[in-house]
Amino acid sequence: MSAPSVASVEQFAGKGAARAAARKRGRVGGSDRRPRWLTYVILGITLLVAFYPLYYAFLLASSTAPDIARNPIPSLIPGTHLWENIQRVLDADIGFWNAVRNSIVVAVVQSASVVLFSTLAGFAFAKLRFRGRGPLLVFVIATTAVPTQLGVIPLFLVMKQLHWIGDLKAVIVPGLVTAFGVFWMTQYLEGALPYELVEAARVDGASMIRTFWSIALPAARPAATMLALFTFVASWTNFFWPFIILGSSNPTLPVALQLLQATFFKDLALIMAGVVLSVIPLLLLFVVAGKQLVAGIMQGAIKG
């Protein structure tokens, strides 16, 4: 007789009991027993590979160009020039603070918009009945695989017509919705929102939008948080289109880094100070919400 699966224990007896059951199963033997030290050595090396390049950027950012030329492999103790290099980045003629502000505006607006429109559409696809629902949903799923990045030429022509070249709107608008977001929220709401709840709201005389607002939106919150995080990261790290449409006058952070490289290509300490500055905000976000990013990827993998 085999023990009940961890997932089913979790469902009936809560998370703590599930953990206890997992521990008990771990002692049974086979591949579920506690691994030996070699496992931790491998994981340690993996983490080292993940962190060293970032620390390396920090080390270079805290030294000077002659130091870097002298010691290609920097000592693990940071130098003393970090603030000076950061100051030089902020003083550089690329408008670094403007780039920070632009990146925040784009990432916040796009995250909010993707979450709102994806949840709206996901609610309709998952819980409402309408003519054409099936084909339209297939269309959404198919478009997640379309490389829309290759449409930049006409997109540029449109932005030129609108006089939006160099304007933040040109970056924001094409990222207001994603097919992936709609697919993601549809999947989630299919399972998380019982029909009975929607129907109860309707019986109580709630309008459609009221039902959405007070029933669907709260139910969608966990998935919506994850979607917002992923959209934020994607937006913050996006380079191709902002690089094309914004140019040097009004950059986002990645474009500003490219400008730093183009202007100061010999001054590595300064460039790396810029890299460190651009990475810190997302690292902070990761400290706060990394767990949710991990959970989001793992959930998406099972459903996708």
Partner: protein
């Protein structure tokens, strides 16, 4: 799917029969019915409108631009037919960029999937502090490709980089990580791998945890060791997930732009275009040479290539998922007997 069996919410009764006594009459009821009928379309329309305007239309219109003379500044010129395509296809640089793109793609996707599978298998063990390790492998994902490229550009500097300094300590001659063809592809592939391996590790890890544990128990009883279990149980059960990862990395990988663009300050893909990719080439044609017609032709060719590769992947997936179905049936039979 459950939605077909449960009572549809807000569906107007098909045969005119009311399901329950109407709560409201007259105008407000008519309003309610319109609410029910139109709301779904209203809710999905922001996505469709914005997607068609900013995604689908530009992609298709690229085809129209590509069969015209089209200057960045002067705009549309004469109808060109397939001249732009002929021009691109006869250009040695295009073929070079295609070679680079495919080479970088293979160097980044194949090792990445192997390493990700390996780390996922390690994480799948009953380790302590699992959340800590899982978060750890995901850290590179939040670093922008541009930043990754600047960091690794220095690691792989031809003179004074970490890679060549380490090689020198082992008595190996310095490698032209920027100046040579394959080494530069390796350097760019390393940037891609750095950012995405952890992400794919977690996808594989999730799939591994979904593998029924009794399969391992059965393998154990049959005398399979851990390595044998990995290759005979884990890998076959992971095939659909692997296909999913391969498809997404194909679509992204063939469009690679950021890393090669940031390899040096000029952004021309190297002195001999040794690491110019197709998307870099599209940018160069369009914005450096101001020839939108030719750039559109190159973009459209890349689009077709991606579509073809995705199709091939899709049919492969279908074959594999039907194989999957077969194993499920076999399992069911075993349970019954």
């Amino acid at each position: 799917m459950t939605s077909t069996q449960l009572p549809a919410v807000g569906r107007p009764p098909a045969d005119g029969r009311e399901l329950r006594p109407p709560r409201r009459v007259g105008f407000s009821q008519t309003l309610g019915r319109w609410d029910v009928k139109l709301s779904p379309y209203l809710y999905i329309s922001p996505f469709f409108i914005l997607f068609v305007v900013t995604g689908l239309f530009p992609l298709l219109y690229t085809g129209w631009v590509s069969i015209n003379e089209w200057d960045l500044l002067k705009g549309q010129g004469d109808f060109a037919g397939f001249d732009n395509y002929a021009n691109v296809l006869q250009s040695a640089i295009f073929w070079k960029s295609l070679r680079n793109t495919i080479s970088i793609f293979l160097l980044s996707s194949v090792p990445q999937i192997i390493i990700a599978l390996f780390i996922a298998a390690v994480l799948d063990a009953n380790i302590r502090a699992r959340t800590f390790w899982r978060m750890g492998v995901l850290v590179p994902y939040v670093v922008a490709p541009v930043a990754v490229a600047l960091i690794f550009g220095q690691v792989f500097a031809d003179v004074g980089g970490i890679a060549n300094t380490v090689l020198d300590k082992f008595g190996v001659d310095p490698v032209g990580w920027h100046s040579q063809v394959l080494p530069s592809h390796f350097a760019i592939a390393t940037m891609v791998n750095y950012r995405w391996t952890g992400y794919n590790t977690l996808i594989f890890l999730a799939a591994m945890q979904a593998v029924p544990r009794d399969l391992y128990e059965a393998a154990l009883i049959d005398g399979a060791g851990r390595i044998r279990q990995f290759f005979s149980v884990t890998i076959p059960m992971l095939r659909p997930t692997m296909i999913f990862v391969i498809i997404t990395s194909t679509i992204g990988g063939l469009q690679i732009f950021d890393e090669p663009r940031m390899m040096d300050q000029f952004g021309r893909g190297g002195s001999d275009q040794q690491y110019l990719t197709v998307t870099n080439y599209v940018y160069q044609l369009g914005w450096t040479n101001k020839n939108f017609g030719r750039a559109a032709a190159a973009a459209w060719l890349l689009f077709l290539l991606i579509m073809v590769v995705s199709m091939v992947n899709y049919f492969l997936t279908r074959r594999i998922s039907s194989a999957e179905q077969m194993t499920k049936n076999v399992k069911r039979k075993k349970v019954r007997s």
